[in-house]
Assembly symmetry: C2
DNA sequence: GTCAGTGCAAAAGTTTTGCATACAG
DNA sequence: CTGTATGCAAAACTTTTGCACTGAC
């Protein structure tokens, strides 16, 4: 259902390793959060993510605070990136999906994912030229999608 | 002081034209806001922008609400883009500076601007391929700058 | 058993709205 | 004059924190 990035088992192992290294604990909440992000191809806001976690835990309590705390943790560790575009609010995405970028329609908000090898390579070169150690990138092209373009 | 984009007079004229078209009014607050953005090369948050406006108006009142309202207006009109990266908060930037992109240090938050012709061209081609009418883009590479890389 | 993690509720921060007044057209 | 824009204050959201209790190691 999901384009293949890193296998979940590997992802999970990496996550555990990071936690161990920082003497943090591996809890069921953290696992479920990671798994949910892994299985979701959409871009969720923290609140939407929290709602899904609530559903998964069949009614059990999931605090929004924990979601934020865990997301910050994951973001620091580079597992997750958050992007925010205009008024659309903060959206979360797993970082180690294969590199891809976004084209966002300013009118209907549709997000189209794309990928271009040439751009990826150019980015690496640019980073090197500035002595920058690259860990990720976000590229958002925006404008109007085919549909909304026609309506204008 | 500022890399040359569109000349301010032209920018201003465009702004007035947009306002006229939507039967909106050209107020001193709107002018000062635009001018301030034009003259500032940094990336400001709405609140920082508001503070600058207050200074410029020598103590006169500038409401944060007006800043937000005007920014939303400008963003809708494509004059301004807001980018938000991780925890660093929303930052504003004039859209019609010459195209350039950002490299952001996850540790110290430094923003390095860069530009690459090849990437720019590739983006246009990709948009065309998807029937997407491109009006702008944001590209953020992130990782650790030279300095912070060394400290790790 | 110890110490980090959790949920909850309160707090802090950010953005939007309602309303009376000010001012551009 | 008319109606949009403004500043202020309140409201609505979003994100973070404090605390007592739970649970991983």
């Amino acid at each position: 259902m999901r384009e293949v990035g890193v296998e979940y088992d590997i992802l999970l192992a990496e996550f555990k390793a990071i936690l161990k290294k920082s003497k943090l604990k591996f809890t069921s909440q953290r696992e479920t959060l990671l798994k949910t992000l892994y299985e979701t191809s959409e871009h969720l806001t923290p609140e939407q993510l929290c709602d899904r976690l609530k559903m998964r835990s069949n009614g059990a309590n999931v605090g929004i605070a924990t979601v934020y705390r865990t997301l910050n943790l994951l973001e620091d560790a580079g597992f997750v990136t958050s992007i925010s575009f205009g008024t659309a609010g903060k959206k979360i995405e797993l970082a180690n999906k294969p590199h891809h970028d976004h084209m966002i329609c300013k009118k209907c908000g549709e997000i189209i994912e794309f990928r271009d090898e040439g751009i990826e390579k150019a980015q690496v070169l640019i980073a090197e030229a500035h002595g920058f150690r690259l860990t990720g990138h976000i590229q958002q092209l925006y404008g109007f999608c085919k549909k909304c373009s026609a309506e204008n």
